[in-house]
């Protein structure tokens, strides 16, 4: 059996309040593709950052070609022949293809100047060998996303990397482009490179990977040969855990239908979305990143304009053309991008809370600060906000407390439907539990909640029913009673296509 080109052993990494990786190991073999599989938050990105010298592990060792190494900087990782192609590859739009390929390691002339002729020629021959007909002299911005990926690959090859990390390389590609990428991966394998391939899509893992390693909650829970392992065994490794007692889900009284969505469509983002939401219900929206869940929610909230479909709230048809319209109709949205879309940093807490409710706190359009403070106090204290005063800039709060301000803002509008988009992403465990507990309380009071989440345990732990979206369409709607998590993962990944 061949020796691994790269070995990680006993790697641990913690961040304040979060244990990202615990005692994980990984081997990459020359001429083979190893798939790294895991749910969001399993620690895959942290591992990639350790391999590329961006993070330093707290414990553990890294061995490259039998030699123990440390990777204190990105440059050091580069020097050890490790290169990564990310989901959003870091390339430069205003530079030419050749410049992008050789940025930082351009061939030099005797005088130490960049040898432009050789650089262009080498870039051209490299792209040629990859079967990519790209002119090395065009600016990168003139290329489509797929060709940009190829340039990123060419860059990876140009440094003569032995270890290539591909982090969800097909996420933004069309089927044809993905096929081209597979051909390239084959070329890399023949060249003896060791490839770490991160993907959520099982069809491609089974198509190109030789080995797999599964992470769950920052731990390595399984590894093996793809050819010898069935898909559902891998899925089980990914999700295998009991979630019931971590989540404070209480069964609320399910009432009449509050929100009906019928045939909601958008020219590019989603099509034919239909579902119902009942009083007292938490409806989970699960799917891979890019499945169109956020776009559907933002259409319900009046931010994106759907091209077809009907939205009904408590029997009244609504067609929100702005967030203001949606709020009026009783639909509110807690966005995933909290700092950009959720809170107005620079304004104090109480003004953030009162912003959508100004009409109620004011008299004839004139502010009444006492009313605003009262409104803000009522809802922020209910959510157990940790702040020194309500006049504090919301930007000085932690992520979890900012999230509480956003939720307080919406509760103050007395909504019918609350949409939470990745509500606990990037917040500490304590605040996470508070948000979950609060969701249970909300539905207990007769509200209804849509929760978009890519975290399987959260979806399984909090939802009454779960809508799975895939490539802009609903791939299935499931009742959460006795639901096998494997079914969800397989539906989201397109292995299984069936409705409950």
């Amino acid at each position: 059996m061949t020796q691994p080109l790269l070995t990680l052993s006993g790697i641990s990494k913690s961040f304040p309040g979060v244990r990202a990786l615990h005692d994980v190991s990984l081997e990459l073999y020359p001429g083979q593709v190893t798939a790294l599989i895991g749910e969001n938050g399993a620690g895959k990105s942290t591992l990639v950052k350790i391999l590329t010298g961006i993070y330093q592990p707290d414990e553990g060792s890294i061995t490259v070609k039998g030699e123990a190494v440390s990777l204190p900087t990105a440059h050091a990782a580069f020097g050890r022949g490790i290169t990564a192609i990310h989901q959003e590859t870091v390339l430069f739009d205003e530079l030419t293809v050749a410049e992008n390929v050789f940025l930082g390691h351009a061939p030099r002339t005797r005088f130490g100047l960049i040898d432009w002729g050789r650089m262009r020629a080498e870039a051209a021959s490299l792209l040629q060998s990859m079967g990519a007909g790209i002119d090395p002299d065009v600016k990168l911005k003139e290329l489509g996303i797929a060709k940009k990926h190829l340039v990123g690959l060419a860059r990876a090859l140009s440094i003569d990397a032995d270890i290539v990390i591909m982090d969800e390389p097909t996420a933004a590609l069309s089927q044809k482009e993905i096929e081209d990428l597979y051909v390239l991966v084959e070329l890399l394998k023949q060249d003896g490179k060791a490839i770490l391939f991160i993907s959520h899509k099982f069809d491609e893992i089974y198509r190109i990977a030789d080995r797999f390693t599964v992470f769950r909650d920052g731990e390595m829970v399984g590894k093996g040969m793809i050819a010898e392992t069935a898909q559902d065994a891998i899925v089980r490794m990914m999700v295998g855990r009991s979630v019931d007692h971590i989540y404070p889900k209480t069964q609320a009284q399910i009432g009449e239908t509050v929100l009906t969505v019928e045939g909601l469509s958008h020219p590019t983002e989603f099509a034919d979305i239909s579902f119902e939401l009942k009083r007292g219900e938490i409806l989970g929206f699960y799917g891979l990143v890019g499945a169109g869940r956020t776009e559907v929610m933002q259409a319900l909230f009046g931010i994106t304009r759907p091209s077809a479909g009907r939205i009904t709230v408590e029997g009244r048809e609504v067609a929100p053309k702005s967030a203001a319209d949606a709020i009026e109709a009783g639909i509110v949205y807690v966005p995933e991008e909290r700092g950009r879309q959720g809170v107005v940093i620079g304004l104090p807490i109480f003004q953030n809370v009162s912003l959508p409710s100004l009409r109620r706190t004011s008299g004839n359009g004139v502010l009444r600060l006492a009313e605003e403070f009262r409104l803000a106090r009522t809802y922020t204290e209910r959510l157990d906000l940790r702040a020194s005063s309500l006049s504090q800039d919301v930007g000085t709060l932690s992520g979890g407390n900012q999230q509480k301000v956003v939720i307080a803002k919406w509760l103050a509008t007395n909504p019918r439907v609350i949409i939470l988009d990745e509500p606990t992403k990037g917040i500490d465990i304590g605040s996470k539990a508070a948000v979950h507990a609060f969701m249970s309380e909300l539905v207990g009071q007769g509200l209804c909640v849509i929760m978009v989440s890519s975290e399987l345990p959260e979806v399984m732990g909090m939802s009454d029913r779960i809508v799975v979206m895939r490539e802009g369409r609903i791939a299935g709607i499931f009742d959460n009673k006795g639901l096998d998590p494997v079914t969800l993962v397989e539906t989201a990944a397109g292995i299984r296509s069936q409705a409950a």
Binding site: P248, T250, S322, P335, G346, Q351, G365, S388, S391
Partner: protein
């Protein structure tokens, strides 16, 4: 699981800082001190300064610009800017002059001046909010467009012959040495102060200036408010055009040349963040007074116009830098 409805809540106070203390350590206090210093310096520099008519004349140095600065302050707080205000004056004044030749009486002239201002502002507002173009580019364009129209109509001619009662709007006194322009400015300042600091509309302007996207996601109709602010700035420019034309008694296409910079200097000197999101009307009023004092003082000392231009440029740069230095100082103090 904790039940968040029944447990006693941790109390969060409304505010911790002492409002008196924060008022003392404010930008406005600094402006008052600077104003007093320049006033004193003027009084020592010229024996003619401390005289009620001198002081009254002084106000004409800033009232027309300051009227625009009030609206510009709201626009800049919302994160936009209008560089076309002086060109709006030129176009409004030209069209008023044209109307005089047709025998339009004073009320009609005022309506034309204000109407042209409003229309120009609405045009800017449409280009920025309707077509989603950046306001700095749009208003550089309309700056050239509006003044260009004025030149096309007038060439090297001038309009004159404004009726006597029209002149009162720029030259008249309401009582003693208190001019109509000054009274109008004070009244407008009170209205703008109220709108910006005491109404929902004003609060939404601050929200937009701090984070327009989050404001939109909080149900603020961002485009509509920005459009209104452009209209308001155009309207105030139209009013300034009426007052300036009435004061000068004639219209040339070069009227109010370079005023956009002085207006913006006033706004920024008044403590309005050029990045949007912060500022006060009191600050802008104080800044207007200071600019009036400085220009008048330099005039008393017979300082030539070129030096004034250099002074305005230097002032604009330093007032953009000063708030940043002041903030750094304040942060270090905490």
């Amino acid at each position: 699981m904790t039940d968040t409805t029944n447990t006693p809540h941790r109390h969060i106070p409304d505010r911790l800082d002492n409002p008196v203390k924060s008022a003392v350590f404010s930008w406005e206090t600094l402006l008052v001190l600077v104003g007093v210093a320049i006033f004193t310096a003027n009084a020592f520099a010229s024996p003619y300064f401390l005289n009620e008519w001198s002081l009254s004349d002084l106000t004409f140095n800033f009232t027309e610009k300051a009227v625009i600065a009030l609206a510009m302050a709201l626009l800049i707080i919302s994160g936009e800017i209008d560089l076309s205000v002086a060109a709006i004056i030129a176009l409004a004044s030209t069209l008023m002059g044209m109307a005089v030749q047709w025998g339009v009486p004073t009320p009609g002239l005022v309506a034309i001046g204000i109407g042209v201002g409003l229309a120009c502002g609405a045009f800017n507002g449409f280009l920025v909010t309707g077509l989603k173009l950046p306001s700095i580019v749009v208003t550089i364009g309309t700056m050239s467009l509006f003044r260009g129209l004025s030149y096309a109509i007038l060439g090297d001619q001038a309009y004159g012959g404004y009726p006597a009662d029209f002149s009162w709007l720029g030259q008249g006194y309401v009582w003693w040495v208190i001019s109509f322009e000054l009274v109008f400015f004070i009244a407008a300042a009170i209205v703008f102060w109220f709108v910006l600091h005491r109404t929902n509309f004003g609060r939404r302007i601050f929200a937009i200036g701090n984070n327009a996207l989050a404001a939109q996601f909080s149900g603020v109709r961002v485009a509509r408010i920005k459009f209104v602010l452009f209209c308001l700035t155009g309207l105030m420019s139209g009013i300034a055009a009426v007052m300036l034309t009435a004061r000068l008694g004639s219209t040339r296409p070069s009227i109010a040349q370079g005023w956009e910079l002085e207006v913006i200097t006033m706004v920024v000197l008044g403590g309005v963040s050029i990045l949007g999101g912060a500022g006060s009307i009191l600050g802008v009023v104080l800044a207007a007074l200071i600019m009036g004092l400085v220009t008048f003082g330099l005039g008393l000392l017979n300082v030539p116009g070129i030096v004034m231009s250099i002074f305005i440029g230097g002032l604009l740069i330093s007032v953009i830098a000063l708030p940043i230095l002041y903030r750094m100082w304040k942060e270090r103090r905490q």
